[in-house]
Amino acid sequence: MASAGASVTQLASKLYEHCLNNFPLDQLFYQQDLLGLGIVPKSDIALLLKCTQSLVDQKLFRLLQGKNERLAWKIISREDAEKLQNLSPDESLVYNVIHSTGRSGIWVRAIGNRTGLHKSILDRCLKSLEGKNYIKSVHNVKFPSRKMYMLAGLAPSEDVTGGAWFTDGVLDENFINTVAGYIEYTVSRKSWFEVPSADAQRNKRIKTSDGSAAVKQEPGQKSYIPFPAGFRGYPTVAMLTGAVNESGITPVRLGEESIVQLLDMLCYDNKLVALNNGEMYRSVKNPEAVKQSQSRKSAGEDTGIDDRLVTNGMTEAPCGHCPVFKLCAPGGAVSPENCEYFDPWLEKALGF
């Protein structure tokens, strides 16, 4: 019996060595695969199972359920195995559950459900695992109130962090604005044709000669004209992603999905226009205007009137802003006769 045990251990370590050397760490082994290696003599399934069980006990193999409910194993590297060997059974149970969820992390209550451990024991396990720096707690944007864990060595997935635009689960507004501003400017530089200065002069003269409104051009100011329809030179997502990553304004490399997200946002802001279903992007304003509005914003001036849509009757009239508009009726407590907004409005508009 002892010799049989010893041979199993030997065989098991041989099996482990072979797998470790010849396959990547996340290779999934079925029974057939292990028998096919030719290490277990005579393809003895019982012997193989003994070997794998001993490996699982030593935390060198992880038992998994593959397709069609078949048994399967994965190898664990020696360092990790050492870690696991030092854990108590409860802890290793918890560790395995957390490990199984990978980069998406797992909610504490879900660990409880899956392990069937009592809450106090679970808390103790989590505390000790966290103390050993095997796991970490993460913040999920989708469920900000849930306490979630994942292995310490993993980076949280985009679902958890909310993508590149979140820092510690909070939307990073400054970062977004910086990148958005950069993108808008980049796009606008490519979507307007800059008239060479000599030509601009000529344009001016022609426009005034036929009496239509001439574009006022101060010397030194560039003038821009649109490209014809069907122009193919507008920037694409790939170009913009490249430009943003090269610009050095982002500490992390941004993926195309993140840039698309931002581009969509800019489209909703009416700053960019998507052409051909988002294949290319064109800016609404020319580079000069973009620069001006951005510098205005950064200077903190709130009189960004050019930036706004043109006002209409309702936004100008005092009624448009009146907090008690709904109550207003002739002869009522609030009435056009005793309205306190009209006089200041008239004074402001007429300047007396």
Binding site: K142, G162, G163, W165, L171, I176, W192, F193, V195, D199, R202, N203, I206, K207, S209, D210, S212, A213, V215, I225, P226, F227, P228, A229, G230, F231, Q261, D264, M265, Y268, D269, N270, V273, L275, V284, R308, L309, V310, T311, N312, G313, M314, T315, E316, A317, C319, G320, H321, F325, C328, P330, S335, P336, E337, C339, F342, L346, A349, L350, F352
Partner: protein, 651 residues
């Protein structure tokens, strides 16, 4: 448009324009809707004589519908809110007419407006239309215009002159006032121009009855017909519906443009580029001939017609009125143009204006349905296609088309493109001919390029169609009207809730219903800001929340909350608010007037009026100045609000 605030506004307008008696009758009718004379008398507490006089005049002004029932022989009266509302748009319309057809046309228009409707023969006798005071009517430029017209006709000039002579003689017999002669000769061509553009229409009996009465009446007539009586069931229904529509069209139709429109251009349409010398025009004609033989014949016919039609004055028996439907089309086109001007160069906008003008000539009203259809159910409604060549013809030949569009490739040298305009300006008009020759095909291409530019997102102001091998351009009205509507709403939202709200609303509008998390992901806004802005917009009625419970208990924790933005709903509530704001402005104006009542009465005294400088003190003059500014501001504001109403209700 029957609602509390619309009624209030219309009553105010009637009061301001026509005085208390009208207002009393109108407000009674607005409150009780359809009334017989006896009930009207009872509710309005007016005497018989007052009522009769009032109603007769109000019918003349189209403020009241009347209908005599066949069954009991009683006449019922109903308010005509639409036409009461249009009182507010009169200023805008006159300004538009003046810009389009000159001062004199605007005077004619305002006279017709003032009278409600008028017979042409009566218009002939009105002194204002004969009055040749240049300050008021400014007939000079018009005269020039018509003279030019004569010149273009070439050999027929003399006959044309004779035509002018004819009415002159008549008139001389009447009053012998030398100065009035030239002007009355203008009246008929002006009326024709107005009719040709469709700005005035013939008055039909059916127009004095409300639309519902007309429908019932037509149905009754139709059902009495033997061939319809023979039908049964579904067939009968269909036949009646179709027949009613046809009959209505026939009865309400006051179209005067027939025979006054040639090749899609109405009589007397003002050529904007009169500075263009004769030479390029001739050139165009020649090219035209070379390309298409059939068209030449038409051309010739046209010139014959031109002569033949013009010598005949407007039939003096016709009664004309303002055609507000058509004017709405023209005003709507102006809004489209403004939209184009925001993002495009002035040249592109000018090209667009030419296209829109050609389209306007052939568009009778803004839409076929009486109500604006719900969002997403309206379908598409394209304007008549205008051939590219027609647009090219319309455009000022001196307009520099090439200079405002960039090259297809960035690397392409600009000099090749820049060359031609340089020649233009250097050599001046004298060399136009040679220049025109080389660029004829080019020009067409360039115009096409400008129109392509307009067809691009976000507004898609134009769309290209190939009709039997020819390039034509159209405008999709419903889509653009919707854009205008959204723009108005967005402006309000931006002003009230800031640009963050604007982004949120645009996301919701495009994506439909969204929960908070998804909304945040798309709009990239911090939760705090997002919630704040959503809550305040919900309080203001701009966005709404739908609750979808996941189980029967409907616990908040087990419920999905979806935000949505329904532009139709918002639009309707804003429309009501706009009516209300308009009437508040008018009421405030009245209040301001009452504050200054005594002073204003003094300024309106017959001896003071016109001699303010002499009779009023310095302080009083300043006060008058102030008052006028105030009045102008408030009325201007009302006009601005009317722009919004037009977008939300009429376009």
């Amino acid at each position: 448009m029957t609602s509390q605030f619309a009624g209030e506004l219309c009553t105010l307008l009637v009061d301001d324009n026509f005085g208390e008696l009208f207002a009393r009758i109108f407000s009674t009718l607005v409150r009780y809707d359809r009334l017989s004379l006896a009930r009207l008398k009872f509710y309005s507490r007016l005497s018989n004589a007052q009522l009769r006089h009032g109603l007769a005049a109000m019918i003349q002004q189209h403020l009241v519908f009347h209908y005599t029932s066949y069954d009991d022989g009683v006449t019922y009266y109903e308010p005509n809110m639409q036409s009461a509302y249009y009182l507010i748009r009169s200023g805008k319309i006159l300004e538009f007419i003046e810009e389009r057809l000159g001062k004199y046309a605007a005077t004619v228009m305002s006279t017709i407006m003032f009278l409600g409707h008028a017979q042409v023969a009566y218009l002939e006798t009105i002194p204002e239309l004969k009055n040749s005071d240049p300050d008021v009517n400014g007939p000079n430029e018009d005269n020039e215009e018509y003279q030019e017209f004569g010149e273009q006709n070439g050999p027929k000039e003399h006959e044309a002159d004779e035509r002018y002579q004819e009415p002159k003689d008549e008139l001389n017999g009447l009053n012998g006032d030398q100065s009035s002669i030239g002007n009355l000769a203008l009246l008929h061509p002006t009326l024709k121009a107005l009719a040709g553009h469709g700005y005035i229409s013939r008055v039909r009996d059916a127009q004095f009855q409300s639309y519902a009465d007309n429908v019932l009446d037509s149905e009754r007539t139709l059902k009495a017909r033997p061939d319809i009586k023979a039908l049964k069931g579904k067939k009968l229904e269909e036949a009646v519906v179709e027949g009613t529509l046809n009959l209505l069209k026939e009865r309400l139709d006051g179209d005067l443009t027939r025979g006054l429109v040639f090749n899609g251009i109405p009589r007397g349409a003002k050529r904007r580029h009169t500075s263009a010398s004769e030479a390029p025009n001739k050139k165009e004609r020649l090219d035209y001939a070379a390309v298409d033989e059939d068209d030449v014949e038409e051309e010739n016919e046209w010139s014959d017609d031109e002569f033949g039609e013009d010598t005949v004055p407007m039939e003096s028996g016709i009664t004309v009125r303002i055609n507000y439907e058509k004017l709405d089309v023209a005003l709507r086109n102006r809004r489209f143009l403004e939209l184009a001007e925001r993002d495009s160069s002035s040249v592109t906008a000018e090209v667009y204006e030419c296209l829109l003008r050609r389209i306007e000539y052939q568009t009778m009203k803004c839409r076929d349905t009486t109500e604006i259809p719900r969002e997403g159910e309206e379908g598409e409604q394209y304007s008549v296609p205008i051939s590219l060549r027609a647009v090219v013809e319309e455009i000022d030949p001196l307009l520099d088309l090439a200079g405002s569009i960039g090259p297809m490739e960035v690397s392409q040298p600009i000099s090749r493109r820049g060359k031609r305009p340089l020649d233009d300006s250097m050599n001046g008009v004298g060399h136009e001919g040679t220049n025109g020759e080389q660029s004829e095909g080019n020009r067409t291409y360039e115009v096409d390029q400008h129109l392509c530019l307009l067809a691009q997102p976000p507004y898609n102001l134009t769309s290209k169609r190939i009709v039997s091998g020819l390039i034509t351009w159209t405008v999709e009205f419903r889509h653009l009207a919707r854009k205008l509507r959204h723009l108005e709403l967005e402006r309000i939202i931006e002003a009230r809730y800031g640009d963050v709200a604007l982004r949120v609303v645009r996301v919701l509008h495009e994506k439909g219903k969204l929960d908070e998390k998804r909304l945040q992901e798309i709009s990239l806004l911090p939760f705090k800001d997002l919630r704040q802005v959503l809550a305040s917009m919900q309080a203001g009625g701009f966005v709404d929340l739908q609750e979808v419970p996941r189980d029967a208990q409907r616990q908040p924790s087990r419920t999905i909350f979806l935000w949505f933005y329904d532009p139709d709903r918002v639009c309707n509530s804003i429309l009501e608010d706009t009516y209300k704001a308009m009437s508040r402005c008018l009421q405030r104006l009245r209040f301001e007037r009452s504050r200054l009542k005594e002073f204003l009465e003094k300024t309106e005294r017959s001896d003071v009026k016109g001699n303010e400088e002499r009779y009023l003190s310095e302080a009083e003059l300043a006060l008058l100045e102030q008052w006028r500014a105030k009045e102008a501001l408030l009325l201007g504001e009302v006009a601005r609000l009317d722009d919004m109403v037009a977008v939300m209700r009429d376009y």
